[in-house]
């Protein structure tokens, strides 16, 4: 028995929730999850087989790898061409295609690229290799950014001069707002539980207040997802959109204040470019001036020839919830996990990758 896991995978509990959902539905519902962890869990556990056909679950821009533009990979590749560089990266990133290469291809050609499980591990590599320059590509939302913030502070404190952050950290609420304004047809959000564990659930308050849409901050086990779907169905039925916390074993309204403090001490908001969306105001985090010496962009000034994403791949529309992988002519034909055209096919949390691996008749 694994605590905090098995009780949320209890078949009886889940079929009970499935019955409740089936008895509650009155119309068609479209709910969007905006966390790659949810996308993966929904498909991994086969949740769509447990809910009525009138509920459609669609995926939003919740996979950090997927929303990271080609130019980010191009920058990393350009930095690799300089002397004495080690890139220490989360494994997900190495297969993401840039415009001409990927970190994986560069590694096969002899570049020093190491897979790490945390920013802290990258900092350790920097300490062990003082003659090298270690670049950590920082991707992810409010969940991974506090870890990066702590490592930047540690690097400052320990005077580590050979550790650099290639930064693409982002925040979630502005992207959710962009989706609503885009006119994507949805009835509620399955909100990211781990983002909210850091920020508090209150960051989503603007969604029911301003846009009259329901929100449920949700955990990552099948019973969490089923309960959250039920809560969103009831919100819609009662026309009472609000922010509810389903994932109350991890999330409060105010969140993790220490993590928030670290974030606000190291980063400041900036406009940022999202794959499929373009620039979204205040959706990024940049290093504050006092930490600029760790900013790989500023230190190495990588030169890239910016290329627009080619028109053949519909990753952008998939990330905005307008289309599904089945609508893409490249899906599972040209674009496959081992040779991805777009980033959505790369990460385990990417919509196309998840569909490819798990979806019956996908």
């Amino acid at each position: 028995m694994m605590k905090y896991i098995d009780e949320y995978r209890d078949k009886k509990l889940i079929s009970g929730l499935a019955d409740l959902i089936a008895r509650s539905v009155r119309q068609k519902y479209i709910f969007m999850e905006v966390c790659g962890g949810h996308t993966n869990a929904i498909h991994r556990f086969g949740i769509s087989a447990l809910i009525p056909d009138c509920i459609r679950l669609i995926s939003g821009p919740g996979c950090p790898v997927c929303v990271t533009g080609k130019s980010f990979i191009d920058k990393a590749v350009a930095i690799l061409k300089l002397e004495n560089i080690i890139i220490a990266t989360f494994g997900d990133l190495i297969r993401v295609p840039g415009s001409a290469s990927s970190l994986e291809k560069e590694r096969s050609s002899g570049s020093d690229i190491r897979i790490v499980l945390s920013a802290l591990e990258a900092l350790e590599i920097a300490k062990l290799n003082p003659e090298k320059k270690i670049v950590f590509p920082g991707i992810g939302f409010e969940t991974t950014a506090p870890g990066t913030a702590v490592v930047i502070k540690l690097a400052e404190k320990d005077h580590i001069g050979n550790f650099f952050l290639l930064n693409a950290h982002k925040v979630m609420p502005p992207a959710m707002e962009a989706i609503i304004r885009d006119g994507t047809n949805i009835d509620g959000f399955i909100c990211p539980g781990h983002v909210a564990a850091i920020t508090g659930s209150s960051i989503f308050n603007f969604i029911p207040e301003k846009y009259n849409l329901g929100c449920c901050v949700t955990g990552f086990e099948p019973a969490d997802l089923m309960q959250s779907i039920l809560m969103l169905v009831r919100q819609k039925n009662n026309n009472s959109p609000k922010v509810e916390i389903q994932y109350n074993r991890a999330v409060t309204e105010t969140g993790n204040l220490l993590a928030q403090k670290n974030l606000s001490e190291v980063f400041e908001p900036c406009d940022d470019c999202w794959r499929g969306f373009g620039v979204i105001p205040d959706s990024g985090m940049k290093l504050q001036k006092k930490y600029e010496k760790f900013d790989a962009d500023k230190v190495f000034s990588p030169v890239i020839s910016y290329t627009e994403d080619d028109g053949s791949c519909i990753c952008g529309e998939i990330l905005r919830g307008i289309k599904s992988p089945a609508d893409c002519p490249l899906f599972a034909t040209v674009c496959v996990p081992e040779n991805p055209t777009g980033a959505c096919m790369v990460s385990n949390e990417g919509t196309c990758n998840t569909w490819f691996r798990y979806k019956i008749n996908g």
């Binding site: 991994r44 086969g46 087989a49 447990l50 499980l117």
Partner: protein
């Protein structure tokens, strides 16, 4: 052609198959279907022949070492094709600087495993290369076995039909995580030990006592998922697996949850699946459970009709999904 070989092509998944198809099979002209061992008929009888290279990093890990792995792997490739493994060759590529005591420890355990499995190591080769030209030690083993002609169908699965049962001999994922743990890549220590073991004792018993053995395959790189997909493609049927019945040890489940691995895709070195006629399944299961390497055996699914030859999984919570062929690098140099 400016393509280069990447680690993905060695991971035992889709890209490995593509490489074998596009290069080796193209030029060597190997017949369909590709099985773990070649079956060669000669005047004197039918023999099976197989070969494998071992590059595991590190060379010692909980539950085994590169040498023991090499013997088990080759014995198992022969055993799952229905043969009685007999003779093995072992070739060593050694990086200068390897401590002699390490080499002796490895060779000693190879001899021990060979004795246990009832095979003889009869020929070999040694090369030493400059520092940095290989990593400590690479081993290639080849092996031959004798195949009773009545068991020729086993490696090809040609007698499999709808309703036949799929049995596994125990929990999956231990080898991959034991090696990963030994690489000091995890920031915690794990109690997981490799399942590295010779399976010819088990395969011999079930083939002697049941005439209903229709297929066997060991679950190495790419894990259970890769083998099931290869099987489905080979026999042009579907396979339905009940996720809850696939044995996974608790520490393996825990580590997989934490790191985002799926145990069904992880490498094993002492696991196999057996396909049997439905009426024989319980009997075969009982025999397997009476053998050390099959104590935790379980029936995990069945062969179904499916035009797309999909492997589908009834998830432990009552949902449904496909269990696809692994793709991309899982964990390099796991065997």
């Amino acid at each position: 052609m400016d393509e280069i070989i990447t680690l993905n092509q060695g991971s035992g998944g889709r890209q490995t198959l593509k490489l074998i198809d596009g290069v080796f099979r193209k030029y060597f002209g190997m017949p369909e279907p590709l099985t773990d061992s070649a079956i060669i008929k000669d005047a004197g009888g039918t023999i099976t022949f197989t070969t494998d290279s071992y590059v595991v990093d590190p060379i010692f890990f909980p539950g085994g070492n590169i040498g023991r792995l090499a013997i088990c792997g080759t014995v198992n490739d022969l055993a799952v094709s229905g043969a009685v493994p007999k003779y093995i060759s072992a070739a060593f590529i050694i990086e200068e600087g390897l401590p002699l005591k390490d080499l002796i420890a490895i060779v000693e355990s190879m001899a021990g495993e060979a004795e246990k499995a009832g095979v003889r190591i009869v020929t070999g080769d040694t090369k030493v290369v400059e520092k940095g030209k290989c990593d400590k030690l690479f081993i290639t083993t080849s092996g031959t076995g004798i195949l009773d002609p009545s068991r020729e169908h086993i490696s090809r699965g040609e007698k499999i039909k709808q309703g036949d049962k799929i049995i596994i001999n125990g929990p999956v994922g231990n080898h991959a995580l034991a090696v990963l743990g030994a690489r000091n890549k995890l920031s915690f220590t794990t109690p997981v030990v490799s399942d590295c073991a010779s399976l010819n004792g088990l395969t011999g018993r079930i083939m002697e006592e049941s005439k209903g053995i229709l297929f066997m395959r060991d679950l190495t790189r790419g894990g259970l998922a890769a083998v099931l997909n290869e099987l489905a493609g080979m026999i042009r049927m579907g396979i339905r697996i009940d996720e809850a019945s696939v044995p996974v040890d608790e520490p393996v489940r825990g580590i997989c949850e934490m790191l985002g691995f799926d145990p069904l895709y992880l490498a094993n070195e002492g696991k196999l699946i057996v396909v049997t006629e439905s009426s024989e399944a319980q009997k075969v299961l009982d025999i397997m459970r009476s053998v050390t390497s099959g104590k935790k055996a379980a029936i995990i699914g069945e062969v179904i009709l499916d035009k797309k030859n999909l492997v589908t999984l009834d998830t432990s919570v009552g949902g449904k999904r496909i269990l696809d062929m692994p793709s991309g690098t899982q964990l390099p140099r796991i065997c």
